[in-house]
Symmetry: C2
Subunit: 334 residues, 2 copies
């Protein structure tokens, strides 16, 4: 058995290229006492991966050069050397990285129940993106019934869940997405109240039309021009959640800061950063609630699943080009 692994070879400047990663085929070492071998089925592709490759201070250490590229993943236990917490056949999710097999002592591996949902859902609504949305909109933004909520990357893994939870909680929800298909999706399939296609409309003009009263909450996944425009529409005592800044991750120079940040002063508003890992102890509770909403038909997700670890780099680029429909996942099981 060989393990195909994506190895980080060079730290990218700007957009990753063919020198960034290398596909290696390595043998799998013998298990040590207490270890399990997981055959990975699916890898989660997330915008945060770009930041993990930078050698700068952040919320987690950068991926080391010459090591397996970090990624969330899900797979099945296929060998077990006396680890009492796992059985052969257990379905487990964790930080397995971009590889086909991973050896673990079980730390950071969570058993999941395939009867609740298919495997990819545990990397999507019931995984990090879903948890980010859940805690971001409920615990950080603290939305209230009647709030006007604006969310960017609204057809994406996090934004689509943010908007749906806000709808469940009685908010008016406007989503910003790229292209007609995504805008139609969030309105017709997810029940958003409005959509702005930032690729075809001037964002300031569109916000004036779609959010004439301004917004109480802006959930930002993108940064850049859209963050600036959203800041110009804050109502009094509004909250801006800084969850990500996908428009800025590949900047070679410094990030474009929000030049409209003084809107925080004018409207007495608050801008808060969040990292989903802070809520780990409550993931179980959140997953149970999200499962109920899914079963009730109130919460939908879609996963866009590509095939083959060889296609990792090409698939990764879809995160930034937007050429995907829903949560981006790579199937690495052959």
């Amino acid at each position: 058995m060989t393990n195909k692994q994506i190895i980080l070879k060079n730290r990218p400047q700007g957009t990753p290229n063919s020198a960034t990663w290398q596909l290696e085929k390595n043998s799998i070492p013998e298990l040590q006492e207490g270890e399990i071998l997981i055959q990975q089925h699916y890898i989660s592709l997330d915008p945060a991966m770009r930041g993990w490759m930078n050698d700068t201070k952040s919320y987690i250490p950068p991926v080391a050069l010459d090591s397996v590229m970090r990624a969330g993943s899900i797979g099945k236990v296929i060998q077990n050397k006396n680890n009492p917490n796992f059985q052969i056949g257990d379905c487990v999710s964790g930080w397995g990285g971009v590889q086909q097999f991973v050896i673990s002592n079980g730390e950071g591996c969570f058993k999941v129940d395939e009867k609740i949902a298919p495997m990819p859902a545990f990397l999507s609504t019931l995984g990090m993106p879903g948890m980010t949305a859940y805690f971001g909109i409920l615990e950080v933004a603290k939305i209230k019934d009647g709030d006007i909520v604006l969310v960017s990357a609204a057809a994406g893994a996090v934004g689509s869940i943010v908007g749906q939870i806000a709808k469940i909680k009685g908010c008016t929800v406007i989503g910003i997405a790229g292209g007609k298909e995504k805008c139609d999706y969030i309105i017709n399939e997810l029940g958003f109240d409005g959509a702005i296609d930032y690729k075809s409309e001037n964002i300031y003009t569109a916000l004036k039309r779609k959010c004439p009263k301004g917004v109480d909450v802006y959930f930002d996944n993108v940064g850049g021009v859209i963050l600036d425009a959203a800041l110009s529409k804050l109502r009094m005592h509004a909250t801006v959640v800084i969850c990500g800044a996908i428009s800025q991750y590949n900047n070679k120079k410094k990030i474009n800061g929000p030049s409209n940040y003084l809107s925080l002063l004018v409207t007495r508003s608050t801008m808060k950063g969040m990292v989903v890992m802070d809520y780990t102890k409550d993931f179980g509770k959140a997953a149970r609630q999200m499962t109920i909403w899914m079963q009730e038909g109130k919460l939908k997700s879609r996963e866009d699943i590509y095939q083959g670890i060889e296609n990792f780099q090409e698939t990764y680029h879809r995160l930034f080009s937007g050429e995907k429909n829903g949560k981006l996942i790579l199937k690495v099981l052959e």
Copy 2:
């Protein structure tokens, strides 16, 4: 009796110039029933004045063209046409504007007691700058004993009070100011723990040396490069108070947004805007506390008082050049 008034004639682009204001000498109308005539002694000069001249959405309407330039002020009642709330000789503070006399129905005029402090103190520690500092550091930043507090424009009207209150509350306080004299002042006279002279030191290098553990609270009066540098030093769950952005007020193009704003995400921090008017109902309580601290010698202020309404424009520019020592005040009483 003539009333010398500074009239806003043109909205400035960038820095105000000789076309911005005009000195006019006008007669004083007869009082109507219920009105009082106040002879103004002192006018408060504040960086916020720059924003009030822009015709853009803000926390108060812009000063109308051809009307008296807005300013906080203090003076004495010299005529009263049957207003039961005031006596001839009362010392009153309010928004009298840049003029020598003002007619009022009493709304927005607060009687102050000269026995507590000399008149200029009511435009300084016991006026808007003091109130801004008090509510900003206590209610917005919510400092705790042991916090590391960084404040910019630290020798200025707001910053000097922010730092002293933080010291009273048991914080470690580092101030950023321009020039050796101001830095010496905040350490030797006000008891700050450290000072950074942004005119002679690289702000990033200096912060690394003066705040090696980072900061729990950054109180920002300046924006621009200093805000960016401060964001790079946030500790976990820090708070950034956006009180002003004096470095950006005269920008002709768009404001420089803080390119390090993603530090809010990395450190799970919060950036909050504030406007002092929101705390008006508690000004009395704050003033009583500040008076006690002043009497105990824990809270010092200094006012830099210039003479003559004719010198308004020249004095105003000191706000932005930094050529002043303490709260900038113009005496308009002849």
